[in-house]
């Protein structure tokens, strides 16, 4: 029996916006990032090759917002090859960004990544706890359908940003938990002016499962967090009664440093309550790559039971949800995780409901084929825990975890 798993009572997921693994964490040595950035390159539209460089800026660089709809991501992953039997080569990022502004020099900026010192919060958490270097977006496409995988384990056949209608019988992870008392679950959006990206289903029909970030902070302080919490960042710059709120979702072209502060505030809120810190695991993950370069080709995966039509994908080809999206940053935080843990198993956002369901509810059906085949990042409780897969493996809780101020 693992002490860390035995004590675990809460799982918190913070999902940020639109940054690739190499872009945010590629500077860290030895984790499958940009150790040898010179070995990676992309052709521009003149045929000249360019290499990734650690020149990413916090704001003002990725304008316009890099295209990350299905056809653009297809180009980024396959470099423009549409032939049968094509192989993913990650060679189309500059071509894709060039399409938006017809500026070759500007298209090179899609390869830029941050220095480790630029992102003290994210890179510290990645080196102090467990970093996943093969966590991929669930779909090679945009936000809404990818976030759906985190909530439902499927996007119900969608590969776009359109309204998502739930096709029974796959229930949201929130439904599953609140439908099994005494289990509890909450989706915390930043404030009502930022609200949630999970509108059409949950907010309309079950507003009671939502809270604000202020409530999250209060629940952390008072030890009243639910079993499972999903935290959304602030999606817009807006005024409130108490002052100006800067978007902290890190979606281009929002300031990346604001996101760093937000991640730190979530971490600090959990760590600030000693009892909560001991029995909580925090996953920080990005919904998709936002059109920004990553060098690892997404692998094939178990098909979902849905198929997006050629018309839906916009590529002229249908999509059976049998390939993952581009690699994104993902970090698991807990004082029971050994410092410097690197996890190289394949995960995607369907791993979130898969993990939460298995940990809190055990066997549960029905779930989508993608979710039932997804790996879990926290092992289910019980005597048969595989030590090789258990990330919360320490016998004693760490006392050397960092603080942010």
């Amino acid at each position: 029996m693992s002490v860390g798993l035995d004590k675990l009572r809460h799982i918190v997921v913070l999902m940020m916006e639109n940054r690739s693994f190499d872009h945010m964490l590629g500077s860290l040595p030895g984790i499958g990032g940009m150790d040898d950035a010179g070995a990676f390159s992309n052709p521009d539209t003149t045929g000249a090759m360019a290499n990734p460089q650690s020149l990413a800026a916090f704001q003002g660089q990725l304008q316009p917002d890099p295209d990350h709809h299905f056809p653009a991501v297809d180009l980024q992953i396959f470099g423009g090859n549409t032939a049968p039997g094509r192989v993913a080569n990650m060679q189309g990022f500059m071509k894709s960004y060039y399409n938006q502004q017809q500026n070759v020099a500007h298209s090179r900026e899609i390869l830029y990544y941050f220095k480790q010192s630029d992102l003290p919060v994210l890179t510290t958490l990645a080196t102090e706890f467990a970093v996943f270097n093969r966590w991929f977006a669930s779909i090679p496409g945009p936000t809404i359908c990818n976030r759906a995988f985190a909530h439902y384990g499927t996007s119900f056949g969608r590969v776009d940003m359109n309204l998502l209608y739930i096709n029974e019988p796959f229930k949201s992870i929130y439904d599953r938990l609140v439908g099994a008392p005494p289990h509890t679950s909450k989706l915390y959006y930043y404030d009502t002016a930022s609200s949630t990206m999970e509108i059409t289903n949950l907010l309309q029909h079950q507003p009671e499962v939502f809270g604000t970030f202020d409530q999250f902070l209060s629940d952390c302080e008072h030890g009243t967090l639910p079993d499972y919490s999903f935290v959304e960042p602030n999606y817009s710059d807006h005024d409130t009664d108490t002052g100006e709120e800067v978007a902290n979702d890190q979606h281009p072209d929002h300031n990346v440093r604001a996101g760093e502060l937000f991640i730190a505030s979530v971490y600090n809120a959990i760590k600030g309550n000693a009892a909560l810190w001991a029995n909580t695991a925090l996953l920080i993950v990005y919904d998709e790559h936002g059109g920004i370069f990553d060098h690892v080709a997404p692998p094939a995966c178990v098909p979902d039971q849905f198929t997006a039509t050629a018309n839906d994908t916009g590529t002229g080809q249908p999509f059976a949800f049998d390939r993952l999206g581009v690699r994104v940053p993902a970090i698991l935080v807990s004082p029971w995780i050994p410092k410097g843990t690197i996890v190289s198993r394949v995960f995607d956002h369907a791993s979130i409901p898969a993990t939460v369901t298995k940990f809190f509810l055990g066997d549960y059906s029905p779930r989508s084929p993608r979710e039932t085949s997804a790996d879990v990042f926290i092992e289910p409780q019980g005597p048969a825990v595989d030590p090789a897969r258990n990330l919360l493996s320490l016998d004693a809780m760490r006392t050397d975890c960092p603080d942010f101020e």
Binding site: Q59, D65, Q204, D237, D403
Partner: protein
């Protein structure tokens, strides 16, 4: 224990006049779909197609989100209100009275018709 200092966000990062991104546009569309289902008194009276900036988007999203919460809260309050007690005895008496009246009227009609016949 290591203490990591997190750099502050520069003041010029804040720009509520920034044009809405594709993500916010989609969020507005989804909000509008949700708003259409709200009773009119909970709606925003903002024309979503005219929203151009993040600040405007945030105001619309706030109003619809609050409207959804208020509509559900009001419905829950109505649900929680104790149902009015039915005055069963009086109603039975009333029905009995009506029945008796009908019988009297019917007998009277018969009597009248008997006279005619």
């Amino acid at each position: 224990m290591v203490v990591i200092r997190v750099p502050k966000v520069p003041d010029d990062a804040y720009n509520p006049d920034r044009p809405v991104s594709g993500l916010l546009k989609m969020q507005i569309e989804h909000m509008h779909e949700a708003e259409k289902r709200l009773p009119t008194r909970y709606r925003s009276e903002i024309y979503p197609n005219a929203i151009k900036t993040e600040g405007e988007a945030a105001e619309y999203i706030r109003m619809v989100t609050e409207g959804i919460h208020e509509a559900h809260a009001d419905a829950a309050a109505r649900r929680a209100k104790p149902a009015k007690k039915r005055k069963v005895g009086i109603e039975i008496a009333a029905v009995a009275d009506e029945r008796a009246e009908r019988q009297i009227r019917s007998k009277a009609k018969k009597r009248k018709s008997g006279k005619k016949n």
